[in-house]
């Protein structure tokens, strides 16, 4: 099976991503808890790129590469959208009450809380986000 998946900047791409991930995780025998963490991180990263990365989705290039073993998975998400560093992005304010709670802005915090390690760099016109999830 290919270890690289290319996606359109379209919400339907998430279903393709998740089907591909399920097969890759099964193939690798990845621990279910680690698989769940990686699935969440990749959904947040790709959703963010699709929703906010492009003025014109026609020229979008999004790719996900995955290496996985039984206890650890590492993904690289690349896209040619506008520069966006999820490690530098401000987090939504902590929830204090139902009345004051923001409706959105949870995705970046979820990625940061869930991944074992995140690394971002901008290379040329490409965002490169490395996500590691591990049972250790």
């Amino acid at each position: 099976m290919q270890d690289r998946l290319t996606l359109d900047a379209d919400p339907a791409a998430l279903a393709r991503l998740n089907d591909w991930l399920a097969a890759r995780f099964s193939e690798a025998g990845l621990a279910p808890a680690v698989a769940a963490d990686m699935k969440l991180c990749l959904n947040e990263a790709v959703t963010n790129t699709i929703c906010h990365g492009f003025d014109d989705p026609a020229g979008a290039r999004i790719a996900v590469e995955l290496q996985a073993g039984p206890r650890r998975a590492v993904a690289l998400v690349t896209d040619n959208g506008r520069p966006f560093d999820p490690l530098a992005a401000p987090l939504a304010a902590p929830i204090e009450s139902l009345r004051s709670a923001q409706i959105g802005g949870f995705g970046i915090k979820l990625m940061r809380d869930t991944a074992s390690a995140l690394h971002y760099e901008r290379v040329g016109d490409t965002n490169r986000l490395r996500i590691e999830c591990s049972a250790d």
Binding site: I95, I103, G107
Partner: protein
Amino acid sequence: MQISQQELDGGVLKVTLSGPFDIAGAADVDVPFSVIGGRRDKVIVDFSDVDFLASIGVRVLVKAAKSMGNRGGTMALFNVGEAPRKVLASTGVDTIIAVTEDEPSAIAAVS
């Protein structure tokens, strides 16, 4: 994502969700949840068949809960699996939407 609704005693509305609460799932249930949030004040949500919750799904829940809360209403979730429960805790949403063990507990939380 599938959504069904059932009227219970005491004016409680039971909403049952089935499927991944991802970008596509959120699109499927955003309008029904907006209607529920605007009209109902005692809502329990069965998460038994939701094994994946992304931030875009959290957004749908919070938007409906805030709309209900503005009218004094309450929403509670029940039968929430480990992965969605972790997301609700990480975002802090479990402090503003009750996450309960089972249907009777959820009914008690909104009544």
